[in-house]
Symmetry: C2
Subunit: 246 residues, 2 copies
DNA sequence: CGGCTCATGTAAAGGTCGTTCACATGAGCT
DNA sequence: AGCTCATGTGAACGACCTTTACATGAGCCG
């Protein structure tokens, strides 16, 4: 039904139909291609088939479009982190590592969003909705850290969950930003960004007292003292968090 | 001597004298103010008191100027990291922590350089000199990691130094990029970026088997097994790497 | 159906930038 | 003194961002 309506709008009625959405999509594509810096308002308009002034009916200016994309990015980011966390199933440590992988996967698979979110110079506090979205995403990490902190083995001081969350975030962002992005700014690595981050997080967790698997150092005298969870060694490749300690 | 020469050049002789340097300085100031994205070639020219076309006598285009600044940034960066490392004096761990602090200090005190180096979208491999400078800076971290890795307590597998260096770098960059930069993009933190990074690195090192001070968990049964170095607890506040494990 | 209104799009214009080109200037050498 | 080449100027082009006055037509009301 309403075939004509849709059709006419799509086929260049004077009114576009849903230009706002079209602009967001166009911008996303352009950012993916040329980075947030190279993206231009005029190009997005052109790609949507409208005049250069049309976008101003939907966004105050170029920055607002960028900030909208960043916001949308944080929403999808939250969704993916949340799915990866899966409320800590099947066990906290496994789920936690999955979150780290999801972080990098997002940075890799959604470069446009990641760019808009973290590298476009958009101030987080520009848009309250943006800030809220950003916080909701971070809260996933925070919640995961909270659960992980609650598992610290007895006899070990319990780290503040907020701090853990910030640490994990900084590691993830650091790896993503330095090694897992862009076609050009990449350095040569002895291992993949995923492995790098995984090892980093595992070493960090061990530093907090978590009994992470370490085959080569295993004296065979350490029954996992963490109740009632902790397969813990889940994704650790043999040889410890890093490959082969030659 | 040659008073007249200098004077006339400074007072707007047709020829500027050393426009190249003036442009670099102007650009640096502009980037510090408005970010690498907001910096404009024309503005730099204006600030140096020359026409908009003049800069092209010294830089192929805007990107080359940016890349020059990034290169200079990496050189200063290397100098500061190198001074902080001080070849591992008085002991490796202390010096290592100093390097971390120097990293953040540079990001905080030289936002223009840091921006040009890591957030301007300049591809590292654009300019061979830039890439070389970048590598020299990283090599400081790498060398420090190397020395630290050599100190792993006996019985603990020795981590690859390269990996350690990358980990430390990613932590530093993550913290600097997320929390220690820009007037706007900053989040509210329960602790300073410096403390955050210090705790992060210490926990990481402990995860590698380094006997980092932890007063509350100290069983009193651990004579420092690291020869012949290691005051190691150097800058650690009582209560472990973080404040108070309440 | 006819007309009103308002959201949505257009065209034109002003300002800034990046960049190029022909031309001017003058510093240093012979 | 004169030549030459590095360095700076001015004008011009095209692209972009943004504003303003005007056009269009979708939805609604009588």
């Amino acid at each position: 039904m309403s075939w004509r309506k849709e059709q006419r709008r799509a086929e260049r009625g004077y009114h576009h139909g849903n230009l706002k959405e079209a602009l967001l999509q166009a911008a996303l594509g352009l950012i993916a291609e040329k980075g947030a810096a190279g993206f231009t308002f005029a190009d997005a308009a052109r790609m949507a088939g409208v005049s250069a002034a049309a976008p101003y009916r939907h966004f105050r200016d170029r920055d607002e479009l960028l900030s909208s994309i960043a916001q949308r990015g944080f929403e999808q980011f939250e969704a993916r982190l949340s799915a990866a966390w899966d409320d800590g199933r099947p066990d906290t440590v496994t789920a936690f590592e999955r979150v780290g992988k999801a972080y990098l996967a997002f940075a890799r698979e959604e470069p446009a969003f990641y760019n808009a979110m973290f590298e476009s110079g958009v101030p987080v506090d520009a848009n309250p909705a943006l800030q809220a979205a950003s916080e909701r995403a971070f809260n996933i990490i925070r919640a995961a850290a909270e659960r992980l902190a609650a598992l610290t083995p007895p006899g070990t001081p319990r780290p503040p969950a907020m701090m853990m969350a910030l640490h994990i975030w900084s590691m993830s962002h650091g790896v993503a930003s330095l090694f897992s992005r862009g076609d050009a700014a990449r350095r040569k690595l002895p291992m993949s960004p995923d492995e790098l981050l995984e090892a980093e997080v595992l070493i960090y967790l061990r530093g907090l007292g978590f009994p992470i698997d370490r085959r080569p150092a295993s004296t065979g005298a350490e029954p996992p003292p963490v109740p009632p969870e902790a397969p813990s060694g889940s994704g650790v490749p043999p040889g410890g968090p890093w490959g082969k300690p030659k």
